[in-house]
């Protein structure tokens, strides 16, 4: 893919200058009038208002985006990606700094915002289009394109509550894909629908940036999509811009450094992902004990310790570690069920031992998830955080030099000849 950043004469369409966003930790918004008056009084008299810790979600970002850029934004949870998009989409205002924008911005931080289940597909196209900033005439003109792109022709006059979840997102995405705005902001929305539709979405996005010369800002955890869509990429870490340049380099930096070679990780200051509606427990810290590195010998069990705090009373807490290999898709997951009951306010920690003998040598990333099981044995995730990386080192007795790229990261037991 051609590399278009820093091209001489490219026109800047977004200029971000020293952008900062501060959040107050703890009881956000849950304060009473009395506390606010007290805090105002203390500040007026030059004292610390006692409102507790603050947290910089964005800490001085400077960035210029050029016309027709397809800019990828990557970073681990809590790096500030969503905050940046929210400020650019004018959902919230920055604490400090300035942004200048040329042209209309359409942001899709979620597909189908404002969809109403009782309304028909067609009615929802009008409503959603208008919410995204289209005029009625514009929607009328594009109606046929939107409907045919969505592949929902047959059901277009049926209330969307009768739609399958796949059809729902297809319709929602189609509306957004037909916006005329000069700048398009998207948060992981391409991860919808079946593989075929995903490809269609990416093609559409590529067309928008390449042929129509419009600008795209795209946030994702999926490095494959980032690689195929973006010509330029930035990496955020703890609210700071740590990389700005070629996509391949950015992806490499991101994959190698999340959360890098660390032996322990502190989750206290990390905002939880917005899709996580539950907050029963919060993982505080995770660490490898009595080790010098995160490199494990092949066959040696992975031993990780975690400490968490119960926000509510919990019963039958479960835990799982999702292991992600070189291609950025999870390749294996280990669970433990119903191992813990506790009451709210308590802290607890456990060591978790995972048999990784089936993993091929290589570097792995992890995701730690606390969950409860629902009535249908579905997983109700209550906290979910990027875990510590580990590496499996080939031991001397390995029978074959494993090619992870072609064969996968998982080595099944040897075949028995019958």
């Amino acid at each position: 893919m051609p590399h278009t950043n820093n091209v001489q004469g490219a026109e800047p369409v977004i200029e971000i200058e020293n952008l900062k966003k501060q959040y107050r930790l703890g009881s956000i918004g849950g304060r009473t009038l009395r506390e606010d008056v007290h805090s105002w009084w203390e500040r007026k008299h030059g004292r610390d208002d006692g409102s507790g810790d603050t947290f910089m979600a964005l800490d001085g970002i400077d960035l210029t985006v050029y016309k027709a850029d397809a800019l990828g934004i990557v970073g681990s949870n809590g790096a500030g990606k969503s905050t940046l998009l929210k400020i650019l989409s004018r959902i919230t205002a920055p604490t400090e700094g300035e942004v200048r924008i040329k042209g209309r911005i359409a942001s899709m931080l979620e597909v189908g915002t404002g969809f109403h289940k009782e309304l028909t597909g067609r009615e929802n196209i009008y409503l959603n289009g208008a919410i995204l900033g289209m005029s009625k005439a514009e929607i009328d003109r594009k109606m046929d394109d939107i409907i045919s792109f969505s592949e929902c022709e047959k059901f277009i006059d049926t209330p969307v509550k009768r739609y399958s979840s796949g059809m729902y997102v297809k319709l929602a995405f189609s509306v957004a894909a037909h916006l005329d705005s000069e700048i398009l902001i998207m948060d992981e929305v391409l991860a919808v629908g079946d593989m075929k539709f995903q490809k269609k979405c990416i093609d559409k996005m590529t067309e928008i940036s390449k042929k129509e010369g419009r600008t795209i800002l795209y946030v994702s955890h999926n490095m494959a999509t980032i690689k195929s869509l973006c010509n330029r990429c930035i990496v955020l870490d703890k609210g700071k811009l740590v990389f700005n340049g070629d996509t391949q380099d950015a992806v490499r930096l991101y994959l190698d450094n999340v959360p890098s070679d660390k032996m322990s990780v502190d989750y206290d200051n990390i905002l939880r992902p917005s899709w996580l509606c539950r907050d029963d427990v919060r993982i505080k810290r995770a660490w490898y004990e009595n080790r010098e590195s995160s490199i494990f010998k092949s066959g040696e069990p992975l031993l990780v310790n975690a400490e968490w705090e119960n926000i509510k009373d919990v019963q039958k807490l479960c835990f799982r570690i999702e292991i992600t290999g070189s291609d950025d898709n999870p390749c294996a997951t280990a669970c433990v069920y119903d191992f813990y009951d506790g009451s709210s306010g308590d802290k607890a920690n456990r060591g978790f031992k995972v048999d990784t003998s089936m993993l091929a040598p290589g570097r792995y990333r992890t995701m730690y998830t606390f969950f409860l099981r629902g009535n249908l044995n579905e997983s109700i995730d209550v906290d979910c955080m990027q875990g510590l990386d580990f590496e499996i080192e080939a031991d001397g007795i390995q029978r074959l030099k494993w090619v992870n790229k072609n064969w996968g990261d998982c080595i099944l037991p040897d075949i028995e000849v019958m």
């Binding site: 026109e11 200029e15 900062k20 959040y23 956000i28 918004g29 304060r31 009473t32 009038l33 606010d36 929210k86 400020i87 650019l88 989409s89 004018r90 959902i91 919230t92 205002a93 920055p94 604490t95 400090e96 700094g97 300035e98 942004v99 200048r100 924008i101 040329k102 042209g103 209309r104 911005i105 942001s107 899709m108 931080l109 979620e110 915002t113 404002g114 109403h116 009782e118 309304l119 009615e123 009008y126 409503l127 208008a130 919410i131 995204l132 900033g133 289209m134 005029s135 009625k136």
Partner: protein, 278 residues
């Protein structure tokens, strides 16, 4: 191409972009349409409810306050008296209650996509105005029927000033509503108060009784209720019922415009950061 949007950390209290609201006028129409489409989906009578609601409440007021409590209506036909009062009050009250939760109820949409937030309260006021229009048609029909029956209905030529009073009522209602919605983003107490506060307010306003029924010494208190002259004024303009107090009208006008302007500015300020506190 020039820079078109400037996002800054601090904006002045008077920094407001009304042109943008005009650009989103189609969205206002969509929200109004959505309201009417959704309200009567899966109901048997459908849009008929739009007519039934004002008629039934006026009929019940007539039964209770004239039939049972024998409250005078200054000699005007009771049904007409209550229909008028009820229509105007419902318009005002709906502007307040439908807007009181603007931020908290729409946090989902507001957290995901930007459009000028004022679009929401304006659509709510338009919905209220359409309901008021339906009531006006019913009132006209009723008035014609009474006139034909010779019940002494005479239309005041001053009725041409009616839209001014309605506009003031709408501005006051929207103003109060969005002030409540702006304050409730931080302090939820007001949400609880709105429902029953509006009920109390109604009884302090001449909706189900005329001002003439209030003892002279308490009438001065009516001055502190900016809705009272509006209600009384509308009845006077339409059918010459009751009286009109110039001082009261001036107080109401100042209140309505003041509360509207302050409300819009406060709303504009809160919309920048409310997502961090809801």
């Amino acid at each position: 191409m020039q820079w078109t949007t400037h996002i800054k950390s601090k904006r002045g209290f008077f920094d407001i972009n009304l042109r943008e609201v005009v650009e989103y006028r189609d969205l206002i129409v969509m929200f109004v349409k959505r309201y009417f489409t959704l309200s009567y989906k899966q109901t048997i009578l459908g849009p008929l409810w739009l007519i039934l609601k004002p008629v039934i409440s006026a009929a019940i007021y007539t039964m209770v306050f004239t039939g049972i409590a024998h409250i005078s209506t200054d000699g005007a036909p009771a049904l007409l008296f209550y229909m008028t009062g009820n229509a105007v009050w419902t318009f005002f009250a709906s502007c307040v209650t439908s807007n009181a939760g603007t931020f908290t109820d729409n946090a989902d949409i507001f957290g995901k996509v930007y459009f000028p937030r004022l679009v929401m309260p304006i659509s709510n006021v338009v919905v209220g105005a359409i309901n008021l229009l339906i009531s006006s048609v019913l009132i006209t029909i009723t008035a014609v029927v009474y006139a034909v029956m010779g019940k002494g209905v005479h239309v005041n030529p001053m009725i041409v000033f009616l839209p001014v009073l309605i506009l003031l009522a709408g501005m006051a209602g929207m103003g109060v509503g969005i002030i409540v919605s702006s304050v409730t983003t931080k302090y939820r107490d007001l949400t609880v108060m709105v429902g029953f506060g509006m009920q109390l307010w109604m009884y302090a306003t001449p909706v189900v009784y005329p001002v003439s029924q209030i003892p002279q010494k308490f009438r001065i208190l009516m001055m502190f209720n900016p809705c009272a002259p509006l209600l009384e004024g509308v009845r006077y303009l339409c059918f010459g019922m009751g009286t009109i107090e110039p001082v009261g009208i001036i107080v109401s006008t100042v209140f309505s415009i003041g509360v509207f302007v302050f409300g819009v500015l406060l709303f504009n300020r809160v919309e920048k950061t409310f997502m961090d506190v809801v």
